[in-house]
Amino acid sequence: MEDTLQTEQALHLIQKLTDNIETVIKGKREQIKFVLTALLAKGHVLIEDNPGTGKTVMAKTLAQSISGSGSSDAQFKRIQFTPDLLPMDLIGSHIFDDAKKDFVFKKGPLFCHFLLADEINRASPKVQSALLECMAENQITIGETTYPLEQLFFTIATQNPIETEGTYPLPTAQLDRFFIKIYFGYVDEQTELDIYKDYLGIQTNLNQIKQVLSLSDVLHLQHQTEKVYIHDALIVAVRNIIRATRSHPEISLGASTRSGITFLKCLKAFALVNGRFYVTEDDLARLSSAVLDHRLIYRSKEGKQKALGQIIAVELDRLRRLNIQTTATASPAS
């Protein structure tokens, strides 16, 4: 009984959050869901697209929906990455305190709950790796002291397309830290018209984003995510997909086992974001590309467009044929 209550509560919370974000971000429901998926899976998200498609707004809205504007409940920090940015600008540095006659640690912007790392690929690799280290370890070590980051530390990084000038492309190994990479893309015709008509309203909304979720709510949701049921057949499917990326002729570097775990986490989170307590084929179909695409190195451009699609198509086809009858004790065929 308690479970059901918690479930419904969780679903309600997610619905509230999504609706709140949608007041500002129009026509981006799928992307919102992906971002929330990354949040619930205790991961980070990378948004890639041309400037002016709403990446920053998205990150801001999410942060404020939880932290509220100016509220101290959850801290939201934003760093605009530039080529001359240094690691200390992120982490913080020891400053000599005249009063104590000692060096004290001045925390950098990383010590927050929501971090918007804008245009991450503009910064030098040194800075990028500093950030990504923190994302992975959830703690910062300076000298002899280790400073833990907040329990909820969620990074929304944005980057311009690799081809744009003046960028330092992130290495694949570091891209791996991001659970999900999404492309924002331009909104459709009608939505764009709506945005133009109501840009003032949106502007006001952005300034007055309500806090709908508390920090503990988010932690609760993260906890609930772990409980989402995933059928063995789907775990087999994930395994198959991950393994297939390693042997596909168009892919030179396949996905790692860690990627598989991340994939599973994301699947659960995505199911919850979609209002379910179980993972389905749909989740697999919709999420695979967002989770896996940036982890793979392709041999050619053509392969980049096709390879993953092929792998997923094969697996979905297999799943579609599966006749899983006894839901509880099903033994999936591999």
Partner: protein, 875 residues
């Protein structure tokens, strides 16, 4: 060492099945033909084909693992040659080791050829072309060397190889390209076939120029010989003659074969001793030798045909080559079937074959008995085989009588005597109705009406049937207004201007030139139009030319003849010959040889199966049941083994002398003894097989052994013959093939619908758990949509359902969600959800069917590749 696999197991199996097996079959076919012509091969084509196949398969399997080809092949060749040397030196009796060496030699050659072919199949792309070309060339060379180039020989030899060539090129490419896509595949096939055709073309040109002289010689032979070119191939002179008679008369197709002069071909066909003399004189009375009756006329092809099912069949057709030496085959039914009771007697004749095929049988009508006899040693080179025959001969038949006398007053007198007898018959009465309708059948055609009119005009003054026959004969002999013969004999009767015109009409009314078949054919129709039962007889005319050997007749190829037989009740079938004499050619005296005289007496003949053979001591153990001793036949109650001493024996088969090495256990043969020991060992009263054998010397000295064709082969041959004889109904075959094809196509095109139907029924049933129902419904719906061209994609079920819903205003998405829940969650369904599962299928299907047009549905169900896609894995 781990062996690297060159091909997958599947591919090797495909090669073995699709390339090696057909190659082996073709090798069988080819080796069988080669064996028929080259004695050295020992006529053992099955094991030879097996050698080839072993080599081929081994090579394919070996090269699956990247073995080096050259060292292995070289090693193999060395090992084989070493074993060959070893076998040659082995001392197991000179005879056996030679035999073994030859056998091994053949084995190694064939094995190596197979080895090379197998290697080629598995390694090289172009080998199929080279292999096919090579086979084709070998076959052409074989055909041109061993038999004359007739169309049938060419076709039967080359067509299978040609078909195989295309097959192997196609299949080799198919196997090679199992992974490649379609367009490239057809391109490669096209390329291979074109290069194959080019290669064949170039090589054919070379071959033609090389064999040009041979071909010209063959052409000449065709022009000059009256159908004798087949002689070497089958030796079947009688056959080819009748062929001529059959086709020549009314078909202009074979004109070339008949256009030459008769006198050019003086090949001896057979020699016969006919024990038939004029009553109480020593003057020989020759008889025509019949080989076939042509009773039916096929209006479609304008040819006379041999009919197996003629009413009151009185044709005795034994195969002398299949009767054991000195054993008899007789059919006394023939005598009653001949329907002759008056003026008939039994006459015996000995026929010594020269050019005539071993299986051919000729005798004056009506023969009913055949006993193969052996040819005396000194005549062995001259005569191939011989038989004694007996026939039920009419006194009214005589070559002198049946010949139209053509001015010979002596003969005319004889004829008048015969005619007087037959004139007593005023009306020919057929024994029964089928007989009458059969033997007086005539096509109802304007052209034949003209013949009828002519026959009636000629015979208007004749009352008795015999007078009508004489009137027809006289018509052919009559003179025109310039006192020139109205009809002339010609081997070159010319071709009628209008191709469709009946050849006979042209002969009777315009050209009036022709040879025997023309005269016989015209006479036959005139007689039949008058209601007189008649048929064509084909065989050889006999001329008595030997003053030194009375009763002996020599038959040359140019004596092949056709004439008419007329039925007279009581007298049976009587020969009539209406062919006018050939004024242009004189009957040059024939240089007759000496007849085989002093046939030694044969005392013992046993026929049976060889159980064992000792080539060193020259002994044979024969298992037998039948024995002829001093012309009395003894049959044992059970098979017995006899020891035969064959040290002095000659071994014969149908074509001549062969070596003792040809005998193998299991063969059937006839042993003949002329030993002096047996001469005085007479049979006693009450002797049976067992008691007689006890008194015979052991081993029995044997003078002659005659090999018989193996029983299985005999049966196969008979079967072959039967299939040949029953006219193959091409239309039926065509209809059958078409029917099967249509059926298959129908099934294939109905398949999508049938599968859909089955799935639909399963979806409709409410059996099983809700999950099972949902699964069946989901499957049926997905199948239906897939068949309609809306295949499930990789966007996931929800997106797919939404897409369909938007397009057809259906409610798939809710079901899809429930189905996913059912499939992947542990939660149970609510009642509302269960309701959706049970009801959604029919309503949504209805909606879909409403939206989709009837024509679209029909066409979609015919698109079978969608069905295949549905059941196949995505690429």
């Amino acid at each position: 060492m781990k062996l690297g696999k060159h091909y997958s197991f599947k591919k090797v199996m495909m090669q073995l099945l699709l390339l090696v097996l057909p190659a082996a079959v073709l090798a069988c076919f080819f080796l069988k033909r080669v064996n028929a012509y080259y004695a050295i091969l020992g006529n053992d084509w099955i094991s030879q084909a097996i050698y080839f196949t072993i080599g081929c398969s081994l090579a394919v399997i070996t090269f699956r693992y990247r073995f080096r080809f050259l060292p292995i092949s070289l090693g193999l060749a060395i090992v084989l040659s070493f074993i060959y040397q070893l076998v040659q030196r082995l001392q197991i009796g000179e005879f056996d080791s030679f035999y073994a060496a030859i056998t091994f030699y053949i084995f190694s050659i064939l094995f190596l050829i197979g080895w090379l072919a197998g290697y080629g199949f598995s390694r090289s792309r172009n080998v199929s072309i080279i292999w096919s070309t090579l086979l084709l060339l070998l076959e052409i060379a074989l055909v041109s060397r061993t038999s004359d180039i007739t169309v049938s020989a060419l076709i039967s030899g080359i067509v299978p190889i040609l078909i195989y060539s295309f097959y192997s090129i196609y299949t080799a490419e198919l196997i090679r390209n199992t992974n490649e896509n379609e367009t490239q595949f057809t391109f490669f096939i096209g390329k291979r076939l074109v290069s194959f055709a080019l290669l064949i073309f170039i090589l054919l040109i070379g071959l033609l120029s090389y064999f040009k002289s041979d071909f010209q010689a063959v052409e000449k032979a065709w022009g000059g010989a009256k159908g004798q070119t087949n002689q070497d191939q089958n030796g079947n002179n009688g056959e080819s003659m009748t062929q001529k008679n059959k086709e020549g008369g009314l078909q202009n197709k074979d004109q070339t074969r008949l256009s030459g002069s008769l006198n050019k071909d003086k090949q001896l066909v057979f020699v016969a001793k006919l024990d038939h003399f004029f009553e109480s004189t020593k003057i020989p009375n020759p008889l025509y030798f019949t080989s076939h009756y042509f009773t039916r006329f096929d209006t479609l092809t304008q040819t006379f045909e041999v009919d197996e099912n003629l009413p009151h069949n009185d044709l005795f057709k034994p195969d002398p080559s299949k009767i054991p030496l000195y054993f008899k085959e007789s059919d006394t039914n023939i005598i009653s079937q001949s329907l002759a009771t008056r003026d008939r007697k039994v006459i015996a004749a000995d026929v010594y074959k020269v050019g005539l095929a071993p299986e051919s049988f000729v005798a004056p009508s009506t023969a009913f008995y055949c006993q193969p006899i052996s040819v005396p040693e000194e005549y062995k080179n001259l005569y191939r085989s011989a038989y004694t025959t007996k026939m039920w001969v009419s006194d009214l038949n005589s070559a002198y009588f049946i010949y139209n006398p053509a001015g010979n007053t002596e003969l005319e007198k004889f004829q008048e005597l015969r005619f007087a007898k037959l004139r007593a018959i005023e009306q020919i009465k057929s024994p029964d109705k089928p007989f009458e309708t059969y033997y007086t059948y005539m096509p109802a055609n304007a052209e034949y009406k003209r013949i009828t009119a002519l026959a009636q005009k000629i015979t208007q003054n004749a009352a008795a049937p015999i007078d009508k026959i004489i009137a027809i004969r006289d018509y052919f002999l009559s003179k025109d207004e310039f006192n020139q013969p109205l009809f002339k004999y010609s081997d070159n009767p010319g071709i009628p201007g209008i191709p469709s015109a009946s050849k006979l009409n042209y002969f009777l009314f315009e050209n009036r030139k022709g040879y025997c078949a023309y005269y016989a054919g015209a006479t036959l129709f005139m007689l039949r139009s008058l209601g007189i039962p008649s048929r064509l007889a084909a065989g050889f005319l006999a001329t008595d030319r030997s003053s030194k050997n009375p009763g002996w007749y020599w038959f040359y190829a140019d004596q092949a003849h056709a004439w008419v037989q007329v039925y007279f009740q009581g007298y049976g079938w009587i020969d009539f010959d209406t062919t006018v004499p050939d004024v242009n050619t004189q009957q040059a005296p024939q240089p007759d040889g000496t007849p085989p005289t002093d046939v030694p007496a044969t005392y013992l003949v046993v026929e049976g199966q060889v159980n064992a053979i000792d080539t060193l001591r020259k002994r044979i153990v024969l298992q037998t049941k039948r024995m002829l001793y001093h012309d009395t036949e003894f049959v044992a109650s059970q098979e017995r083994e006899l020891n035969l001493d064959v040290s002095l024996a000659r071994l014969l088969n149908d074509t001549g002398n062969i070596g003792l090495s040809a005998i193998k256990a299991g063969m059937r043969l006839t042993a003949v003894s002329r030993a002096e020991v047996l001469k005085t060992l007479f049979t006693q009263a009450g002797d049976n097989f067992e008691t007689l054998v006890k008194r015979l010397p052991n081993p029995i000295p044997i003078d002659e052994l005659k090999l018989q064709t193996k029983t299985e082969e005999k049966k196969a041959k008979e079967k072959e013959k039967k299939t040949e004889e029953t006219p193959f109904n091409w239309f039926r075959f065509l209809y059958l093939t078409l029917g099967v094809l249509v059926g298959l196509t129908l099934i294939i095109f109905l398949l999508p619908f049938l599968i859909g139907w089955v799935l639909h029924l399963k979806a409709k049933s409410t059996k099983g758990s809700i999950a099972q129902q949902a699964f069946a419904k989901h499957r049926a719906l997905i199948y239906y949509l897939n068949q309609m061209g809306y295949a499930a994609n990789s966007n996931g079920p929800h997106a797919y359902a939404k897409n369909i819903d938007e397009r057809f205003q259906t409610q798939l998405a809710p079901f899809m969600a429930i189905y996913q829940k059912l499939k992947y969650s542990t939660q149970g369904l609510t009642e509302a959800e269960q309701g959706v599962v049970t009801t959604f299928y029919t309503t949504n299907l209805k909606q879909l069917k409403k939206q989709l047009r009837w024509k679209h549905q029909l066409l979609s169900y015919l698109t079978i590749n969608r069905t295949f896609q549905f059941f196949s894995k995505p690429k």
